[in-house]
Every structure is written in C-alpha cells, then in structure tokens.
Symmetry: C2
Subunit: 341 residues, 2 copies
DNA sequence: CGATTTCTGATTTACGTACCTCAGAAGTCG
DNA sequence: CGACTTCTGAGGTACGTAAATCAGAAATCG
C-alpha cells in the first residue's frame, strides 16, 4: 500500500500538521523535527498524491492562449487544437481561455498580454512576434509569477519558461539537404520562397536552408528569396513568374504558407520535368499534392503536440514539478508520399 | 464555478444518491427520473472530476509491461523509459510492473502473459511475437477484461486494443524512396539487411522497401537480403563481405539492429565513395555515425513516446474514456545530420 | 521571574465523488 | 385493499491532502 501523510506522521512521531508544514514548506517547524519528517518520507518512500492534493486545494489551473487571427490552415488547426484541449481540460480542473489578436500586430499582442496579466492566470501561451515591446510585456508577466510559454514562434532574449515549437534553423537545413540530394546532378537554379522575412520562423528556415546550400551544394545557383506574404494568389504569381524566367528551374523551397498557390502554378506548368519541391506544414492542399506527386516533401510541425506540450509545461510550472524534457521537444516531421499519416 | 454532483441533484430536484446512481449506471432509477438527471447534467454542463472520483474509489491503475531481455540499445532504452514512467506513475495512483522474458521465445512470452493474467492487472503491454499461441494468450486476457496493448511489434489478427508502434511498411517505403533519390543516377547495387526475417517488423520494413524499389527505381539492382541476427559482429561481417563482392556497392538499407558492426565495416572501407546508408533506430552509435557523415539517414521510433502512449491508452481503456487518436499515432522520425535532436 | 512571542502539536473541516445503509414513498400484483 | 416489489431520499463515511484553529510548550525579553 502506498504510504500517506498519516503514515509519515506516525512513523516520525509527529502530528499531521507538522508533516503538512514540512511538505508544503511552511514555517513553524524546528530543524530537528523537519529532519525527522524528511527521514520518514525517505524511509517510507512517500510521494504526494497530486489528485488528492489538488482536490483539497480546490485548485483550478487557469491558462490563457493568445492566438493570431490568421486564417491559414495551420492557424485554424492550431485554434482547433486549443479548443479540443480546453474541452478535455474541464475534466482535469483546468480552464483554458483563448484570446484572438490581429496577426503581425505588435501593439495588439502587447495589449492582449496586458489584458491577460490583469486576469492573473497561472500561465500564458502565445505565438510571439519577435519585438522588444512584446519581450517586455512577456517579462512583466513572468515577474508577476505568471508562467509564459511561446508557441510556434519564439521570442528571443525573454525569460519565457519554454518554447513549444520546432527548431526552424534545423528545419531549413533539413530542407536544404533533402533538396540538394534529391536534385543530385540535375542542372538548374533553386527558388526560395517565404511568407515574410519579418517573421522569425521564416527567416530562420531560409537561413538554415541557405547555409546548407552554400556549404554542401555550392555549385547550385540559388535565386533571390521571394516573399509571398503567406497568400496563395501572390505565391502562385511568384512561382509562375519564376517558371517563366527560368525554364530550367530545378527546385523550390517554400518556407512559408500560401502553398495552395504554389501547387496551382505547378499544375499549370506545361511539359518538361517539374522542379523538386519542398514545402512546410501538412494541410489538406499539401497532403493532396504530396500524394499526387506534385511536390516531393512536406516538413511539418504538429500543432496538436505543440498545444499539449505548452499545457503540460505550464501545468508543471504551476505546481513546481518537472517535465519529461524529451517529450516536450517538438519534432520536425518529414513527410514523403510514403509515410503520410 | 464548475458544477458538482450537488448542483445536479438540486437542479434536477432529486437526491445525491439518485444522481450517483445515474452517473455510475447503477440500477434503481426510473427512466423518467433518469432523464431528469441527464437533462440537468446537460443543462449545467457537468463533467465528472476524475481526480476526486479516483480518490473516492481508491482506485490504483495496475499495468504490466512484458519486455524482451534483449541487450541492444533500443530495448535498453525502452526498458529505461518504462522505469521512468513507473516512477512518475507513483504520483498518479498507477503502478507499473515489469516482466522480462527471453527474446524471440514464444513459449516464454505466452507464459509471461499467463502469469500477468493471474495477477489481474487493469492492462498489459508487451512486445509481441507474431505467433498463434501468443495471439490466443492475448485474446484470453482481453476476454478477462484486461486491456492489451502491443508495443513496438504488433500481433496480427488479435483483439488487442491498440498497437503502440510505427507502421513498418511505411518506414520501409520511406527508406526506399530516400535511398533511391539520394542515389540518383549513381550506378551500383543495393544491399538490404535485416536482423531476422522471422520478426514481423523487419519483414515489413523490407517489404515496403522492396515495393518502392521495384516500382520507382526498377533499374536498380537489389542484392538478396542478408540476416545479421541483430548482432554487430555478424552484421559487420556481412557488410565487409558485400563490399568485397561488390566494389561498386551503392547503397545499404539496414532494417534491423546491430548497426555498430555496419558502421565499423564502413569505416574500415578503403578509398572510393562510400555507399549511401540508411539505418533504423537512433542510438549512440548511429547518432555519432550520422553526425560524422558515415551514414546518411536514421529512421527512428521514439521509445519514450511508445511507452507513454501505451500507458495513456491502457488508462483510457481502464476508465472507459476516449484518447486523442492523433496523439497516439507513433511517428516515423526521419533524422538527417541536420535535424538531430 | 513573569510576560510575551515564537514554535509545535492536536484536532477539525473541506474538497468532489463513490458507495453504503436505512427508511419511507411509489408502484405492482393478486 | 393489503402485501409486495421497486424507487427514491436522507444521511453518513471514506479517499488523501490542505489548511485553519486552538492549546500548550519552548524560547526570548525586560
């Protein structure tokens, strides 16, 4: 049978109250007595029953998620995952509130963080914009004892406890290696695409991509990066333009969103071998394109895992327990036609 | 505030005992009354507090893990993950027992399953050997109301509730596509290696691999599969032999373990370009070989995820709740030098 | 040394649910 | 209609921990 606080009290020859004080680090226990209790805990192998403790505390974890009101598939999916988690959270004395803010709007994000601060939740998770004002607002939350976790896009130099997202430099490097090796000796230039170079994740991906291309595939000509603003129409236009200007275009790496346009442009392409294409985020469109061999590889971050990881970290932070580090590393999923889920 | 059973009782105008009878499906409630209670539950959005419920029930989940006493890195890692989970489990009223059985021994595995059956745990997880006797033993457990989950290697045709492992055919196909594309137009044959073709996962991997090679890279010559019994020395010998017999060997796909031997043989290889190499399972040896560019790609299954997934599924099964299906799909991790964790 | 403050221990209540007992109400049957 | 069964309500205890209250012990101070 698992030992309880009563067993500890009996074994240490003290009262329940004293055990409680030791367990919860409250004052009013002589060092000698404290040691007796700690010895008993050690001897009996006592571990606190979190369920009972939370029940007694009447604790409800309250977390706020701040998400950009962006309508691309990935963000829609992310929001859906937060909703799903909120529903499951009810069962486990956890309440998740969501705030939507305009995308790429520093002022709005800071305002949302300040609003969250006033509600005094146990933790806040948000998709960061990498700006000093945002960093300041996040650090203010941390000072208030509110745990802060960044989601999908990180905030450099801040004191946030965790970043629930992928290593975008590694993702870009991976894309570079795969594209370079898939191309082999096939001649022709490569087109890098981004949503915007103002966003940290896109910038980092292209950075990693560029580094690998320069280092491992130096002979390959890399065209200047084009920015499609994560917009399908604009992205499609850019691809059509590139195909026209470079009939021998050998590869495309799309680090941002708006891939529906890219795929449409590829389908409209006439004869000749199509370029090798690597994109990010598994959505309805990219999944279909991959299975129909219109593109070659999709790098993906699992929004569900990111949300669940953020919650686990916030919860662990709230009750000062440890997390399984390996479980919280968000992996770069690499999907080929062959391992589509 | 979250509604409690008391609120439901008040709202439905019945007593607490009646609400309890409805919630726990006990007899002694008229259909009319039952409906009133259910309406109140619906109206107030009541969700049972699992922590309090488990506390009241004094429930302790008991699970048994049956693991092969195999000393390769992957299995060592798997055992370590189970131990770690057991330790964390203490906190959450869950007890994990472990049984070690000789590897590849059907009789021993069946005996272990029968031993587990006698202990009447809530669930059993085990690394299956795909044999009729094992299937029968597993189904017997299921009939006793003990949830059964297969781990790493599946059991065909059984009634197990879940398989916590990767899709090995897809893994093999992925390896095929990567190897074929990495090779490009480079001439030379490819050597497939396995631990043993008697094991289902290895067989399936080679099956997927062979299918893709035949379909997408028909011109490529595939040598006959060699079996290294997951033994480094034997595997090394096979590779040396192949390198001698085929100086133009272009690629190696190792679907099993014992990759230390493979790596040693590659390092001993003289001049000339080394073959493109894809192996399974990220271990100390394969990680180092990958980062030193002795091999090109590692396909991996995350043992920690598999163990945690198995536990989540067993627990959900034990209290009749649902799991997040997407969370329980074990992914095929693809590691290049660039995205090593 | 007595008064005060600081520690320490014992006891009790509460958290939300499960489950038990018992009494009495409502319904069913002959 | 009475005897019977089936429902239902009231009330209690239990689970393991948290936290409050109060009383008594020890230490500190003037």
């Amino acid at each position: 049978m698992k030992p309880t606080v009563h067993d500890i009290a009996a074994h240490a020859g003290v009262s329940l109250a004293t055990v409680d004080r030791v367990l919860n680090g409250r004052a009013g226990v002589r060092p000698v007595t404290r040691q007796k209790v700690e010895a008993a805990i050690e001897a009996l192998g006592f571990v606190r029953d979190v369920a009972a403790a939370n029940l007694a505390k009447g604790r409800v974890y309250s977390f706020v998620f701040i998400l950009p009101a962006n309508d691309n598939s990935f963000m829609q999916n992310l929001r859906a995952e937060v909703r799903a988690a909120a529903e499951r959270g009810l069962r486990e004395r956890m309440s998740l509130a969501t705030q939507d803010v305009p995308a790429f709007d520093v002022g709005a994000l800071v305002a949302a963080l300040e609003r969250a601060e006033r509600e005094r939740p146990d933790g806040v998770a948000f998709v960061a914009i990498d700006a000093p004002e945002v960093r300041a607002a996040a650090d203010r939350l941390m000072e208030q004892g509110i745990a802060v976790v960044t989601l999908v896009s990180d905030l450099s130099g801040s004191r946030r406890v965790h970043f629930a997202g992928i290593d975008n430099i590694a993702a870009g490097r991976t894309a570079g290696t795969l594209l370079g090796r898939f191309l082999g000796s096939r001649p022709g230039p490569v087109l890098p695409l981004a949503g915007s170079l103002m966003v940290r994740d896109h910038r980092e991906r292209l950075e990693g991509f560029g580094a690998v291309m320069a280092q491992q595939f130096a002979a390959r000509r890399i065209l200047p990066v084009r920015e499609g603003r994560d917009d399908p129409a604009e992205t499609g236009r850019l691809v059509e333009e590139a195909l026209r200007a470079h009939p021998d275009l050998a590869g495309i790496y799309s680090a941002g969103a708006g891939n529906r346009g890219l795929i449409r442009a590829l389908e409209a392409q006439g004869a000749g071998p199509r370029p090798v294409v690597i994109v990010h985020e598994l959505t309805g469109a990219t999944r279909e394109a991959l299975s129909r061999e219109r593109i070659d590889c999709v790098l993906n971050q699992d929004a569900g895992h990111e949300v669940r990881s953020a919650i686990r970290v916030l919860k662990a932070e709230a009750d000062g327990s440890a997390v399984v580090a390996a479980q919280e590393r968000i992996r770069i999923d690499i999907f080929l036609k062959d391992n589509l889920p």
